[in-house]
């Protein structure tokens, strides 16, 4: 289809443009918007009705006017040019190179929306990824092809945690190396720079692709960024057969951009002003993780989001939790106590853990041991709460032991160094060691023969 150019912008509202007297505009079509100063931005069609097209401008609308703005319809959706050469490169939030490297000579151009993976084509994630962090490997293990977000808050060390995961992750037994696709949405230069330095210093940069939309970049551009990044990830994983770890940070800013567009369209809002389709929209991002039958590559996703007011029931973490396969939740309390990583293990969850651990994968006692640690730690935290109200003296002997267990568990099991890489054996041994604090009869979740084997 030829490029059609129009100068018939009627309205400009927030990030939206209404263009009139357009012929053959298509839903979700890519458009170029030529600003009066000659610069060119991108947008896409949100709605067409008769000869009117509603367009969202990824670059914002500052400086646009109705009389001099040119809009060009490109006759196709938004695409990313891919080839093996994207590795080691840094792109902007729409996938345009922003380092000093050359233009990408594409092998392929791929629509950034992707297509849903046929559930029948999926292969179930079953390979344990050793991240070297006890609170994850021991209790909420990550599995190759999983989507496991980090729920964090302002000022918490989620970036360091994500970087440590990226640095240390290995698929046990297979010694596969991960490539990293990193997408920044609305984060500060400093935060983005932290990751870039990290990838450079570990030489992971050659296996990485970075897409950067910073806090002062156009907000609407963020709507495209995760899709662009996942398109690159799918190419690397399912065409080049690589193991890809995708870090998306910060999904909260992504959702806010979506809300901005929705508000400008005057849509009926769902909870807290976020659009009613936020669940479906997020699903089209998060579900682009996984494994596919007969393909050697995989996409493992670690989205990061900061919970507004540390509130887990806020729509963004809430809807994310409903889509992802568990969540790692960071605790401000542990962070204040100086514990790194401040992982709140009780509300954290890895739903794929049962398939990734056990005999032949990690060790046969892994599942029972983790259940035992969970329930003991939960009981210990309850005892400690009781002690706060009634005083230490009001606790039964048993409860006192549980309280001690929970302290030591946080101090020795959860806490570890930023560059400390524990093997799964070390993690499990530490767990058994801690259980010695408790009376034998209390260990109902582990089997007798396991106690004999690992505790004596």
């Amino acid at each position: 289809m030829p490029i059609r150019e129009y100068m018939t912008v009627r309205d400009i509202v927030g990030p939206l443009l209404l263009v009139e007297r357009v012929q053959e505009a298509k839903y979700d079509e890519l458009v170029e918007i030529e600003f009066p100063d000659g610069s060119v931005g991108l947008g896409n069609v949100l709605e067409v009705e008769g000869d009117k097209a509603l367009i969202q401008s990824f670059e914002g609308t500052r400086g646009l006017d109705v009389s001099n703005t040119r809009v060009r319809f490109r006759g196709r959706g938004m695409e990313l040019a891919v080839s093996r050469d994207i590795l080691g490169r840094v792109f902007d939030g729409l996938g345009r190179p922003m380092d000093d490297g050359p233009e990408i000579i594409p092998d392929e151009r791929i629509n950034i929306n992707g297509s849903p993976i046929n559930p029948f084509a999926r292969d179930y994630p079953t390979d344990f990824i050793q991240t070297g962090m006890s609170a994850i490997d021991g209790l909420n293990p990550l599995v190759r092809g999983q989507k496991l977000p980090i729920f964090s808050g302002a000022g918490l060390p989620h970036s360091r945690l994500a970087a440590q995961i990226a640095r240390q992750s290995t698929v046990l037994g297979a010694e596969m190396e991960f490539s990293v696709v990193f997408a920044a949405m609305g984060i500060t230069f400093e935060d983005a720079d932290f990751f870039m330095q990290e990838f450079r210093s570990t030489a992971a940069i050659e296996r990485s692709v970075l897409f950067i939309n910073l806090a002062d970049d156009p907000a609407v551009e963020r709507i495209a960024t995760p899709r662009v990044a996942l398109t690159a990830a799918e190419y690397l994983a399912f065409e080049l057969g690589m193991q890809v770890l995708v870090i998306l940070t910060d999904m909260t800013y992504y959702c806010e951009a979506l809300r901005e567009v929705s508000a400008a369209r005057k849509e009926v809002p769902g909870r807290r002003g976020y659009p009613g389709y936020l669940y479906t929209d997020l699903a089209t991002i998060y579900e682009r993780a996984g494994r596919i039958k007969g393909e050697s590559g995989s996409i493992t996703q670690i989205p990061i989001l900061s919970m507004p007011e540390d509130d887990k029931t806020h729509p963004i973490p809430d809807l994310t939790g409903y889509i992802t396969e568990g969540q790692i939740i960071l605790s401000r309390e542990l962070h204040r106590e100086g514990i790194y990583p401040p992982i709140d293990v009780l509300p954290s969850l890895s739903r794929l853990k049962e398939n990734g651990i056990g005999e032949g994968k990690t060790r046969e006692d892994h599942s029972d041991l983790s259940n035992q640690l969970f329930s003991a730690y939960a009981r210990g935290k309850e005892a400690k709460e009781l002690a706060v109200i009634l005083g230490e003296a009001a606790l039964t002997e048993e409860d006192k032991l549980y309280a001690r267990f929970s302290d030591e568990f946080e101090d020795r099991f959860v806490r570890q160094g930023e560059f400390e890489d524990r093997t799964i054996e070390e993690t499990l041994a530490l767990g058994w060691e801690l259980l010695k604090i408790l009376p034998r009869a209390e260990l109902k979740r582990v089997k007798k023969d396991q106690i004999e084997k690992y505790m004596e």
Binding site: E24, K26, Y27, D28, E29, L46, E47, V48, E49, G50, G77, N113, G114, S115, P116, I117, N118, P119, F120, A121, R122, Y124, F238, V268, P269, G270, R271, G276, Y277, Y279, T280, A283, T284, E287, R288, G290, E295, T313, H314, D318, L319, G321, Y322, E325, Q327, L346, P347, L349, R351, L352, E354, S367, F374, S375, A378, L386, L390, A394, A441, K444
Partner: protein
Amino acid sequence: MAEEQGKGRIIKVSGPLVVAAGLDDPRMYDLVRVGRERLMGEVIELRGDEASVQVYEETGGLGPGDPVFTTGMPLSVELGPGLIESIYDGVQRPLNLLFDKAGNYITRGMEMPGLSRDKKWEFVPIVKAGDEVVEGDILGTVQESPVLEHRIMVPAGVGGRVQDIKGGSYTVTDVIATVGEGSDAAQVTMMQKWPVRRGRPFKKKLAPYAPLTTGQRVIDTFFPVAKGGTACVPGPFGSGKTVIQHQIAKWADADVILFIGCGERGNEMTEVLIEFPELIDPHSGEPLMKRTVLIANTSNMPVAAREASVYTGITIAEYFRDMGYQVALQADSTSRWAEAMREISGRLEEMPGEEGYPAYLGTRIAAFYERAGLVQCKCSGERVGSVTVVGAVSPPGGDLSEPVTQATLRVVKVFWGLEDKLAFRRHFPAINWLISYSLYINKVSEMWAELVDPSFKELRDLAMSLLQQESELEEIVRLIGVEALSSRERLVMEGAKSVREDFLQQNAFDDVDTFTSLEKQFLLLRLIMTFYEEAGKAIAADVEIGDVLAIPECEEIAHAKFISEENLNEFDVLERKVTEAIGGLIERKAEEEAEEKVPEGA
């Protein structure tokens, strides 16, 4: 496929909603084909010359001027041999065949019939030429899977004398019988079509009474659902809705399972696809997949097809019900279905009700659950079948006051309330025993007397009351500490703890624990309550509670859930040991007291 009739043109595209003008006589809920790729859609609103269409596939690239065709047919499912073991999307396209044809990703514009046209089935007639039949009568059977005999029924609107019927190997479109005379004579095939939004007819609804045994202790013993009944499982994310639904799909004593993955994760469907062919049904000894139909319209698949998926699922369920089967349907999650309705309603610019949901949300939910039931099937003889519906609900933030949960609670008879606090403690299934209920408990427990033991209900009520007392006592402990409790009260706490940990908690991923027969549930509960009663006697006799809890049998009670179904006699042995051990404590105490008294008297 139906022939296209009138052709119209798109005038508007907004996400999954397309407005077309100039269609020739469009009717509500008719299927249409949209655009050059002929995407599937359904008419959901008519205004003058304009028809609003929800499109079951991605609409990117569509625009004004593109053609739209009517088919003159409502959105329907194909019913006949070939349903079992299938995995369909929300509009009954077989995902395995889509995969064969299009590869890893779901691409657009793929037409795909729900039932294979090539596969031949061995049809065995059970009526003969000359017999009189009416709608719903069984003409013959096909052994569709080792456990499922597919009963070929006289389709709607057909009846009379059987002119001709022949056994043999046929496809679903071959004529197997001619029924009726003259101009009313109908050529009957093994396939019927039925519009998904209309419930299939039956003679009469009956009150559900028999338990749907799921092998899940907290459900079967405490909050049972009846065959033909309705239940809902609301809970925040990660609280265990899907695991419960999967457990029911695996272990329920139903003839046919319909699992609808409605707007949830792709991997969860993959898990079913990988596990079910391997797992053996304890009732039939055959792989679970041999009685299962899957509908998978995951969260990233088109939202309009998600809206249709629950109707596609329940229509198939009703079809098996009409054959006289007990069908159990799980919908995970009905909230995603409601959200799909909300999205479409928003695009139609309808006046929103609560939280943006359409005003008809409550009506639609009620009408859906109303399609469950125990019924006398439509036929000349007596035949009874049932559809049990269990819907997951995903309330935002776990807040049960939201519209979907509230609308659901108004119609369903069983409520399994999941709680994240229990899940954090890894108490699974995380069903809160204090807020959950079953309105079938009285009916169903009458059957227990027959199936298991007359004292089952009494035991269950006693255990329930322990749990209730525990929550009251916990309040006291929280305020003044455990010292404030009498030994009797401490025993109540211990008894309740044992009910919680040794009975209610059930690990879905443990080979033995994953399924518990009704009989074993009874024995396990009796064991726990025997301990409680005997311990009560000991305390009345002044034995220290600490000594009672220290008997080694306590640890055995904690592991009793792992006693396998083959060794149920171990329960009797253990129960005797408990009685003896505590009896021993009482005797010793009496001796001690007697000894203490002796010097005084001497």
